[in-house]
């Protein structure tokens, strides 16, 4: 009797284990874990104190390295989420001032997440229709600068009109930047990857010109004017906390895109074009129209991201180098397997890492750029799951693995 139960139990566990080892979620978690381990080794390997510890003896070296890696990642956590003990004590004390300061890192991370979330959804949406939008950066730039223009040009408008107006102008600018490569692809067949990259540089040079030219603040060079009070996005808390309504807008957009893609005929056509252009053609779907729409809407969402950054966080444009959102957005979409709802999760992962890395740099001297390295490692393993399977001796799934592809479908996780 007992024996039988035991074998049943083992059976259950072995089935569970097998299921886990086949699941693509496991691959993602293991990829993140492996990436963090490699990033930790790199961080320790470039720190002088670790070498000094190894000079003393091998075991102190190892313990010092582990301590260092722990410190690095825990300060990354504290910087992005907050100090758990402080958060608890603040909650128990009930002092609103204390609560605000304890939860500040978390709320700030949400602010950083917002553009990631929108650009990630933008790239994922285009991916689902089989087009690759590398132009998120340029669309964001244009959305940002044009929303800013609407923000400081119109004066005396009530907030309820000014904010939507400025946001829509940003959206239109981004949409235009997406429409051009989409139209070119549909009409002439020229590849959207090259065209969106070109549009990035055009947007970059154009916005630089606008910032130091027509839009320049008369009193301060290399910067634009500030957007009017009436065009600024509503904030949830008092001043040091910057969490604004844009985060909610971003979540709503992600859910909306998910609903349209998965619950409407129109979204189905979108995905069919991405999954199998030939099938789409025989089903009578106008795939060139879908291509144009996909890039235009994608551009519009990226433009919205820029507009929200301008009206919610920056309030003015400053002559600068690229922000890197465009390329990170591709990573976010890939990690989420182009599913808009998963983009919320992966965008938060990136946003929290970006926010936390600042604290990490102060505490441990590890530069912010480690985040890009971690992203590179993680994406590398997710793109080639076979490597992860070899490392952890996981079984091949019987079905063919759906890896993110150019014409990749949004796999339901």
């Amino acid at each position: 009797m007992e024996e039988k139960q035991d074998s049943e139990k083992r059976n259950f566990f072995s089935i569970l284990l097998e299921e886990i080892s086949k699941s693509s979620l496991t691959i993602i978690i293991l990829a993140i874990f492996t990436g963090l381990v490699l990033g930790g080794i790199l961080a320790a390997g470039t720190t002088q104190e670790i070498y000094e510890a190894f000079d003393e003896s091998f075991s102190t070296g190892i313990t010092e390295s582990l301590k260092f890696i722990w410190e690095t990642y825990s300060s990354l956590f504290i910087g992005s989420v907050g100090n758990p003990s402080k958060m608890f004590s603040a909650l128990f004390s009930g002092d609103s001032q204390e609560i605000r300061s304890a939860f500040k890192p978390f709320l700030e991370s949400l602010v950083v997440t917002t553009p990631y979330l929108l650009t990630g959804v933008a790239v994922a949406l285009a991916f689902q229709a089989g087009v690759f939008n590398i132009g998120g950066e340029g669309q964001l730039f244009m959305g940002s600068i044009m929303a800013g223009w609407a923000g400081w040009t119109f004066k005396g408008l009530p907030s309820i009109i000014h904010v939507p107006l400025a946001l829509s102008i940003g959206i239109l600018a981004g949409a235009l930047w997406g429409f051009i490569p989409g139209w070119l692809k549909a009409k002439t067949g020229s590849h959207e990857v090259i065209n969106t990259i070109m549009m990035n540089y055009i947007a970059f040079n154009l916005s630089q010109y606008l910032i130091i030219g027509p839009f320049q603040d008369p009193n301060e060079s290399f910067k634009t004017r500030f957007v009017e009070e009436s065009a600024r996005l509503w904030r949830f808390f008092e001043d040091p906390l910057r969490l604004h309504v844009g985060f909610i807008i971003a979540i709503v957009v992600a859910i909306l895109v998910w609903y349209v893609l998965y619950k409407t005929t129109w979204g189905f056509e979108f995905r069919i074009v991405g999954l199998n252009p030939n099938a789409a053609k025989y089903a009578g779907i106008n795939s060139s129209l879908i291509t144009i729409l996909a890039l235009t809407i994608s551009g519009a969402i990226a433009g919205l991201a820029g507009a929200i950054e301008m009206l919610g966080v920056n309030f003015r444009a400053v002559q600068s180098l690229t922000t890197g959102y465009g390329f990170d957005a591709i990573a976010i979409a890939l990690l989420a397997k182009n599913h808009p709802l998963w983009v919320i999760v992966t965008a938060m992962l990136f946003g929290f890492m970006r926010q936390g890395s600042r604290v990490m740099q102060i505490n441990t001297g590890i530069p912010i750029d480690i985040i890009s390295i971690l992203q590179g490692f993680i994406l590398f393993f997710i793109a080639a799951p076979a490597i992860i399977r070899t490392i952890y001796r996981l079984k091949e799934p019987k079905q063919t693995e759906i890896t993110p592809q150019l014409s990749g479908p949004g796999e339901k996780l």
């Binding site: 790199l42 590398i134 009409k187 002439t188 540089y201 154009l206 890009s372 150019l406």
Partner: protein, 428 residues
């Protein structure tokens, strides 16, 4: 019978589109001519003189300067453009259209310079010399792209390979000398290309995704190393490589006009000349080149003929990566003398644009690289002249031109058919 009418119809359509293209081109020529006439000539005083200084600064070989009456030259250029435009609309230059287009573009540029410098002088020799230097990373990047794409692998990681090459070149150059830096940079580029090759050929990861991952990773890693190590004072000696000095070629550099502009550079320019020639021969005259192009166009057919598709692709991608690494070392060892995170500034992507512009041929990409280099050179010179166009707008021109070319307005530009698709060997 039906088929023959269909073919006729298609032929008719094709003739119709070439006819439209011919007219559009003619109108473009005409418009350029009228622009020179009504905008440039009209705003130039009749007695103004333009001085083109043809000797680059610091050159020992003196080329005589060109001095001319601005208005006469402008009117001449305008008239010629208008004449070419009218001929193009009525009769058409046929297959020479693109050559005429280049000619008209050159005339527009010369007119522009003559107009902007009317009453003063402009160092055209120096500008051309800088153009050549600015075009090095673009042309080498384009050659790297050609190698990969001709074998059927899209490589948008050229930027990442370049920035790695620049960093490794600077560090190894500081430690072991300039030549060691170059070798190390080539090696580093090749190493990253191995990752790209394994991901995209063995694991069949989407090539654009693989390239994007490499770009994210390398840009992060180089920036990390700079902030963590090179910015510390005790490690600063790792980032002081210095640069290759110009070597003038004995007889060629003495030729007036051409010599100081073309043959008084450091090794990177000469390498560029040699690589363009070698690549052209290798691609179009050797068995290896034929095989590579076959793999890029139709891998299955190539495989049937016993060509090892995977091996050809691996070799091409790794060679391409080495070229990109070499291109990167130009930034640190050929131009700046140290590494700086923003030094590549998207040149890898412009290289890809030059590749498309040059229709996936080394010579064409060289021409495109020169054009893009000229735009950069002009943009840096703008401050000296009172140009009405801001440099940012001018720097947009290469990108816009690339999109126009890619859209097929200026003749058809078509890449290798199999570029971007992983090859799956069918089991027997």
């Amino acid at each position: 019978m039906e088929e023959s009418t269909l073919i006729k119809k298609k032929k008719f359509q094709k003739a119709e589109t070439t006819k439209t293209r011919q007219r559009i081109m003619g109108i473009v020529f005409l418009a350029i001519g009228l622009f020179i006439w009504f905008v440039l000539s009209a705003t130039t005083p009749p007695e103004a003189q333009t001085l083109f200084v043809m000797t680059p600064g610091g050159s020992s070989v003196i080329s005589p300067d060109l001095k001319f009456n601005s208005l006469i030259v402008l009117n001449f250029m305008a008239g010629l453009c208008v004449a070419l435009g009218i001929f193009q609309i009525i009769k058409g230059f046929g297959k020479y259209t693109n050559i005429v287009l280049v000619l008209v573009g050159l005339m527009l540029t010369v007119s522009f310079l003559a107009w902007a410098a009317s009453g003063t002088s402009i160092n055209v020799g120096g500008m051309l010399r800088i153009m050549l230097m600015r075009s090095i990373p673009i042309v080498l990047g384009a050659l790297s792209g050609i190698l990969c794409e001709r074998a059927g692998v899209v490589n948008i990681a050229i930027e990442g390979m370049m920035i790695t090459g620049a960093l490794v070149g600077a560090m190894m150059g500081s430690l072991f000398g300039l030549w060691a830096g170059v070798v190390a940079a080539i090696f580093a580029g090749g190493l990253i290309a191995v990752v790209h090759a394994v991901l995209s050929i063995k694991y069949k990861v989407d090539q654009i995704i693989s390239g994007t991952i490499i770009n994210i990773f390398t840009i992060g890693l180089t920036s990390y190393i700079v902030t963590k190590i090179l910015q510390e004072r005790e490690w600063q000696y790792l980032n002081e490589s210095g640069i290759f000095m110009p070597v003038s070629i004995p007889i060629l550099s003495k030729i007036p006009y051409i010599g100081p502009i073309l043959f008084n550079h450091n090794i990177f320019v000469y390498s560029m000349y040699i690589l363009v020639i070698v690549m052209t021969i290798a691609l179009f005259q050797t068995r290896w080149g034929l095989r590579m192009r076959a793999v890029g166009e139709h891998p299955k057919a190539a495989d049937t003929l016993g060509i090892n598709v995977f091996r050809i692709r691996y070799v091409a991608v790794i060679l391409g990566g080495m070229l990109a690494g070499f291109a990167g070392s130009y930034f640190s060892l050929g131009s700046a003398g140290y590494f700086n995170q923003s030094m590549t500034a998207g040149r890898g992507f412009i290289g890809l644009a030059a590749m498309i512009f040059g229709n996936w041929t080394p010579v064409g990409s060289f021409g495109a690289g020169l054009l893009f280099g000229f735009a950069e050179s002009l943009a840096t010179n703008l401050a000296l002249l009172r140009f009405p166009i801001p440099s940012e707008i001018l720097l947009m021109v290469p990108y816009i031109l690339t999109m126009i070319v890619l859209a097929g307005v200026v003749g058809r530009s078509r890449g290798p058919a199999a570029a971007g698709t992983p090859y799956e060997k069918e089991s027997l």
